[in-house]
Symmetry: C2
Subunit: 298 residues, 2 copies
DNA sequence: AAAAATTTATAACTTTGCGCAATGAAAAAG
DNA sequence: CTTTTTCATTGCGCAAAGTTATAAATTTTT
């Protein structure tokens, strides 16, 4: 049983395919297959059910995979601990970012970060919260930028800042005249939402909970806030945006942004990590860099 | 960084010598030296100070060794978990036993155990509690039979049974006439003890705490209870024995054994394991076998 | 203090194991 | 039924880890 074999096993477990896993591990498929086979022979059990598509772990496989993940974690921490002692910020950082944060935050800190830490390979993956949580637990992400409070048990969050909600109103909507809007003023019929899976959608729905009127008859559900705004512009609807997203609204449309009356309504942007995370120094460098970038732009 | 390199590193850390470590790892010394060197080069730090005899870890080395131990633990648990699932009791069990327990307990369960679990290689090491604790923490023992409550923090104890204290009196001593003896009757001047390091010695001293008279003028301190009894026999002294040790006193000397008046004075024999121990199935099989052997002989 | 022994490092050679390319077999998709 | 996809099998090459032999340095012995 080698570390490589465990890595290959986890790769297959993560993506459900020998050939895809082989690609991710940068080896050929036969090479990976042989190693998995050797591992199964040594342990004396079948770990993966190849008859199913996608390939799924057997009962024993589930247990071995769970323990192998833990083993690789502590194994990698040996190297990591040396880097920490040396004060070196080196290695790969796989960062997940939710789609409603990525376009408004990444460009603020990424350039400075990669310049300051040239020995860190930063991999950014845009994905929704649910996938981020899975990935953090599976150790296929090291950290993620998410909306606070939307993660599971095994995940820890470092709060970064508050992101206040605003209403973005169509020029054709009556609310355009108002200087600020109360939640009570909102008519769900004219509210356009992000598609399912986005935590911002859930937060907006939460915000309007208690309002019993029917949802938007348009039922536009789209994947990016930019699209959402464009739809608002050409209907008589409105949507709710986080402050971040309002920064890049062109001047001629600034009038359409209205703060929510009771200003304390916000989401908290947080840096999420596995509870037993390992890359302490890189991640604290990242956290610091994000906070610095925010301070600079205020 | 390979698992082998970490194993070699731990071997050196445990025995303080490259050549001895190589022997323990069943490879030649150059082979081990090369691997350690490769590991140091990869991590970019010196792990071992070879100028000292015995070889000691550097500051970074200490950290790496600690984390490497943890990594190997979880690594080995992958295999172990499969054995548990298969219900197979296989592998090596390194069992430490304190010297005041070994001669009276081992023969009761070892034969049955090795017969019942032929695929377990049982290695018994007689050593004092302090060394046992170190060995459990360093993962160079899997489990140990000790006197309850004498272990450190990272160690967990499964209590097995009570072992009551008795007084063993010289035929020349006045106490010989008594049917039982109170602690108050004990004159420390005539008490013979085991040598330092034995937990039984400390327990006996604890028992007599508060008594302020001088210790035995003979100051015999010996390493085995058998020797202790022989010395008692040819002086006018006495000693305190656990019940286990009285089982094999010849009939003609049985008169010399006196229970302690308040019968609740005992040590508890326990099976000690590291808090994060791994060989669950073997160890629970062992525990069970010991308990069965006790039941059979009562 | 010199000699012997012990311990770690280095060098040359051998073996083992992992990866690759090519190919076969079986199942899923068209 | 054919085509495509996916995993398994085979044979070959290279790199990594092991071995023996030997050097260098330190400790122990005489």
């Amino acid at each position: 049983m080698t570390i490589i074999q465990l890595e290959y096993l986890l790769a297959v477990a993560n993506c459900g395919s020998f050939s895809v896993a082989a690609g991710q591990c940068f080896v050929t498929q036969p090479s990976l297959s042989m190693q998995i086979k050797a591992l199964e022979e040594e342990l004396g059990v079948i770990l993966l059910d190849r008859t199913k598509k996608p390939v799924i772990p057997t009962e024993v496989g589930e247990v071995v995979i769970r323990n192998a993940r833990e083993a690789l974690r502590s194994y990698n921490y040996v190297k990591e601990s040396v880097n920490e002692l040396k004060g070196e910020i080196t290695g790969t950082l796989r960062l997940g970012v939710i789609p409603t944060v990525a376009p408004y935050l990444l460009h603020r800190f990424v350039p400075a970060f990669i310049k300051k830490y040239p020995r860190v390979e930063l991999q950014v993956h845009e994905m929704i919260t649910e996938l981020i949580c899975e990935a953090l637990e599976k150790d296929s992400l090291d950290a993620a930028l998410v909306s606070g409070g939307s993660t599971h048990d095994g995940i820890m969050e470092y709060e970064l800042f508050n992101d206040y909600f605003h209403v973005y109103v169509s020029p054709a909507n009556d609310l355009l005249e108002r200087s600020n809007i109360r939640i009570e003023d909102i008519d769900l019929k004219n509210l356009i939402l992000l598609s399912q899976g986005h935590c911002l959608r859930d937060q907006v729905l939460e915000l309007c909970a208690g309002k019993r009127s029917a949802h938007s008859r348009y039922n536009f559900e789209c994947g990016s806030l930019e699209t959402l705004m464009h739809i608002v512009d050409c209907t008589n609807c409105f949507t709710i945006l986080p402050e971040m997203a309002t920064t890049y609204v062109p001047t001629e449309r600034r009038e359409q942004i209205k703060p929510l009356a009771k200003g304390a309504v916000s989401r908290k942007i947080a840096l999420a990590v596995r509870r037993t995370y390992v890359k302490h120094s890189i991640i604290s460098a990242l956290r610091n860099e994000i906070l610095v970038s925010l301070r600079n732009e205020e």
